[in-house]
């Protein structure tokens, strides 16, 4: 179904540590999204890119996360200083630039102790 690759699948960090996860979008998909799904199954949009440019991001992402999608390298999302409330499943998705299906990776499950 989806060819989006996310690594690592699981990540355990202590509070205050950096937490970095990566995503390789489907080949030919210039639009990349990051979402956070919490333990209550609620999804939160974090940021999206078209090629290397940020399209939209929420305040939390701007203040506490570092994200990029360099050309010819995986996209990455990094929490600068992890908090317990950041424990969640982080999902990367990619799509074509027009109205189109978003294809999701398997996610990185982050646990902040």
């Amino acid at each position: 179904n989806s060819k989006v690759i996310q690594t690592p699948r699981y990540l355990v960090k202590g509070q205050g540590q950096k937490a970095k996860m990566r995503c390789i979008p489907e080949k030919g998909h210039p639009v990349v999204f990051w979402y956070q799904q919490n333990k209550n199954n609620e999804f939160k949009f974090l940021i999206n890119f078209q090629n290397q440019e940020v399209l939209q991001q929420i305040d939390m992402t701007e203040k506490r996360f570092s994200a990029e999608c360099p050309s010819n390298s995986p996209c990455s999302l990094e929490i600068q200083s992890s908090e317990a409330g950041d424990s969640a499943l982080y999902l990367c998705a990619s799509s074509l630039p027009q109205q189109d299906t978003q294809y999701f990776g398997p996610g990185t499950r982050l646990l902040v102790l």
Binding site: F33, Q37, F45, L55, Q102, F104, G107
Partner: protein
């Protein structure tokens, strides 16, 4: 407020029976996607609709952009249909991001 209201939150079906899930949108929606999330967290694409209806095997989905709702019908439910189903709506404000419903946890039993 929440853009997507999904119902029911939980559903139990016996094998062979049918039912429907629904998402109501509080703002104009450009498109809707339906996913099934398995126990490992993977989101499996079921449908993408910008309008009208689509059918795939025992699943059928409809999107009414004027009346602001979408439905997912499951016919002849099978054990492997169990999982959590989400709709996700793309607003017309652009940027391509979607807003997810709260999910429907479906359990199909023998």
């Amino acid at each position: 407020g929440d853009q997507v209201e999904q119902s029911p939150s939980a559903l139990s079906l016996h094998e062979g029976t049918s039912s429907a899930l629904r998402c109501n949108f509080t703002t104009t929606t450009r498109s809707v996607q339906w996913f099934r999330q398995n126990s490992r967290g993977s989101l499996i694409n079921l449908f993408y609709l910008a309008s009208g209806t689509k059918e795939n095997g025992r699943l059928k989905s409809a999107f009414d952009s004027k009346e602001l709702y979408s439905t997912l019908h499951i016919r002849d439910a099978q054990l492997e249909d169990s999982g959590t189903y989400f709709c996700a709506a793309e607003a017309i404000t652009g940027g391509y991001k979607v807003v997810f419903g709260s999910g429907t946890r479906l359990l199909v039993s023998p």
